[in-house]
């Protein structure tokens, strides 16, 4: 199978992954105890109203009919229901919030992998020093610290101390000028650059710094560990010994010969961390008032609007399916063995 065939094959599999994940979401939402209608409408609603709402939402139908209706409305109509109070389509709300979550996820991934690789490579290079121990302790602490607590500590230290913005995606003034831009994609960095507003782009990056750092540090521990383990393993093998014997400098041996060995384990880890990234994003967005899907979920919880929570969970299933597609394709690009 060539690279092109592999990508096509993987693309063809994605609807199946999505279908399985949506089935899972449906199963958990409908089969567990708890009634979506009383969650949507509140507990002190007369029985007739409850019954009417149930019929409106199709919840009076048999389970398998509900299941096909759910799949049909999500996959074909892109319909995720309406909010309880204002009756706004949930899909519209999510569409306006999705770019912010993607921005944060990308930035945090860059921080996580960058920081992790740096720590891992340094640990492998200075194997005999105190550094590997330090990196190990770092990984354990980072694993044990709730991401919102880390965020609050960074808000207090780097935010209040060093003057970095601690809340929102943009300063209020720039938020207004963003609204009136002729070309809009929803991605602030893209919009501000397309429309030639470098000042807004910089303001955005300033606001992005702390949330991205928070989520990135939170995820960096495992990347440090994976990098260290694979690089240090490579450093004991014949091909690195041969490289050293040829007089290549140690740093170059580590980065050119050892680090290449870490690429595939790193990719595997990146795929496994997608779930942690999305979950962590909900808490990070809440901590920093970052107006993404995660903050929407928090608002949904506060307003007791279950349609929002349910819609967002569905969208997260779609995101998981898409990102696993990207990771799999990246696999094939990096590792020729994948495409036999």
């Amino acid at each position: 199978m060539g690279l092109k065939e592999h990508v096509l094959y993987r693309l063809a599999l994605t609807p199946l992954t999505l279908f399985i994940l949506l089935t899972l979401v449906f199963f958990l939402m409908r089969v567990l105890p708890g009634d979506p209608v009383t969650m949507l409408e509140g507990k002190n609603i007369p029985e007739e109203v409850l019954a009417r709402r149930r019929a409106e939402l199709g919840l009076d139908k048999p389970l398998h009919v509900q299941y096909f209706n759910y799949l049909y409305s999500v996959l074909v109509k892109f319909d995720l229901g309406q909010t309880a109070l204002e009756r706004i389509p949930v899909s519209y709300l999510i569409a306006t919030r999705l770019p912010a979550t993607v921005e944060l996820a990308i930035a945090a991934s860059v921080v996580a992998v960058g920081l992790g690789v740096l720590l891992g490579v340094l640990s492998a290079r200075y194997e005999e020093s105190w550094f590997p121990q330090f990196a190990r302790v770092y990984s354990s602490i980072v694993y044990s610290i709730p991401v919102f607590y880390l965020g609050m500590l960074l808000q207090l230290s780097l935010g209040r101390g060093a003057g970095l913005p601690t809340t929102g995606r943009l300063s209020p003034v720039n938020l207004v000028s963003l609204e009136s831009m002729p070309v809009r994609t929803g991605f602030v960095l893209l919009d501000s650059l397309i429309n030639g507003r470098l000042d807004i782009a910089l303001d955005f990056l300033g606001h992005l710094a702390l949330p991205a750092l928070t989520l990135g540090i939170y995820l960096s521990g495992v990347f440090a560990r994976v990098t260290y383990l694979s690089v240090s393993e490579a450093m004991t093998q014949d091909f690195t010994r041969a490289a050293r014997a040829r007089g290549i400098r140690e740093w170059r041996v580590v980065t050119r010969y050892g680090f290449r060995n870490a690429l595939i384990p790193l990719l595997t880890m990146a795929g496994l961390q997608v779930a942690a990234l999305l979950g962590g994003a909900v808490l990070t967005e809440t901590t920093f008032n970052w107006e993404g899907v995660g903050l929407l979920v928090y608002e949904g919880i506060l307003k007791r609007d279950y349609a929002i929570v349910q819609g967002a969970v569905t969208i997260y299933a779609v995101l998981v399916a898409l990102v696993s597609l990207v990771v799999d394709v990246a696999y094939a690009v990096v590792d020729p063995r994948v495409r036999y």
């Binding site: 958990l28 602490i141 560990r225």
Partner: protein, 293 residues
């Protein structure tokens, strides 16, 4: 980042001591601090006095002739931070206990059945568990907790769902590797029923791995619980809880009243570290083959 010399031993000791301390706190903490964790009112000779909010750590005040000491200060509602931090151990650790127990029981049971019976059932269950594993755990727990509402058992159930696949995959793997082994075949030939083979011959072999997974799951459940209550799910005020307190004190924390958030957060980190350390040490001791890798 290999374990330090003599790791399993000191890990077991330090992790065990921290874990034991938190478990004791969970059992006696609430009754130790009593009303002071939930109320800012003090009664002296039948007269009510309000404790002022946001007192810094180490403050001593006198109300109606009574000397009150606040080593960790008071929160935005005038409640003793130390009392809340100590009292908060009960809810989170109870939830972590129940969710770990539920996920271990269900995951083990399903893993045994799925691995032993095999066939279509095994494929369907594995597919289901794999997708459950791939799904962001916290988001899943949020959705379930929002549906189930407040209460220890509800939030425990929401968290348990997240960890069922870990136990399922591990137990199923052991079952598959043991199914064809001579001692199972011998039992089969001797006429043992499927149930007795699974329960008497296979289950005991999965126990070391289950046991070493328990503390790690417990630690993770603490973090997930903190995340859920931080988002306002599963708990009813004024029950003291670390995650919930962190969210409620957020604005004041950022305004410079650092003690409101610092201490509940430290409790989460410390308890999680304790259970993790215990888990890693147990894993090294119970599954020695994995240490070489």
């Amino acid at each position: 980042m290999r374990g330090p010399r003599g790791f399993p031993e000191w890990g077991l000791l330090v992790g065990g001591v921290i874990t034991a301390a938190f478990l004791v706190l969970a059992v006696v903490g609430s009754s130790l601090v009593g009303e002071r964790a939930v109320s800012s009112t003090v009664y002296v000779d039948g007269r009510a006095y309000q404790i002022p909010p946001l007192l810094p750590p180490g403050t001593t005040i006198e109300v109606g002739g009574l000397v009150l000491h606040f080593p960790l200060g008071t929160d935005q509602l005038g409640r003793d931070v130390l009392a809340r931090v100590v009292g908060g151990a009960r809810f989170v650790l109870t939830v972590a206990f129940f969710s770990t127990a539920i996920s271990a029981l269900l995951g083990t049971l399903l893993g045994l059945i799925s691995g032993y019976i095999g066939g279509m059932l095994d494929r369907a269950l594995s597919l289901f568990m794999d997708s459950l594993y791939a799904f962001p755990g916290l988001i899943l727990a949020i959705a379930i907790a929002a549906l189930l509402g407040v209460g220890v058992l509800n939030i425990s159930l929401a968290i348990a769902v997240v960890y069922i696949p870990s136990f399922f995959r591990m137990v199923r793997g052991v079952v598959l590797s043991l199914k064809a082994s001579p001692f199972v075949e011998a039992a089969l030939v001797a006429g043992a029923s499927s149930w007795s083979i699974v329960l008497k011959h296979i289950l005991p072999n999965t126990l070391p791995q289950i046991v070493s997974l328990l503390p790690v799951t417990f630690a993770d459940a603490i973090i997930t619980e903190a995340g859920l209550t931080f988002l306002g799910l599963g708990i009813e005020p004024p029950t003291p809880d670390w995650g919930f307190d962190l969210n409620k004190g957020r604005q004041f924390f950022l305004a410079g009243y650092w003690w409101i958030g610092l201490f509940p957060g430290l409790m989460i980190v410390l308890s999680v570290l304790g259970f993790l350390l215990l888990g890693e040490a147990l894993n090294d001791l119970l599954n020695p083959r994995k240490v070489e890798a």
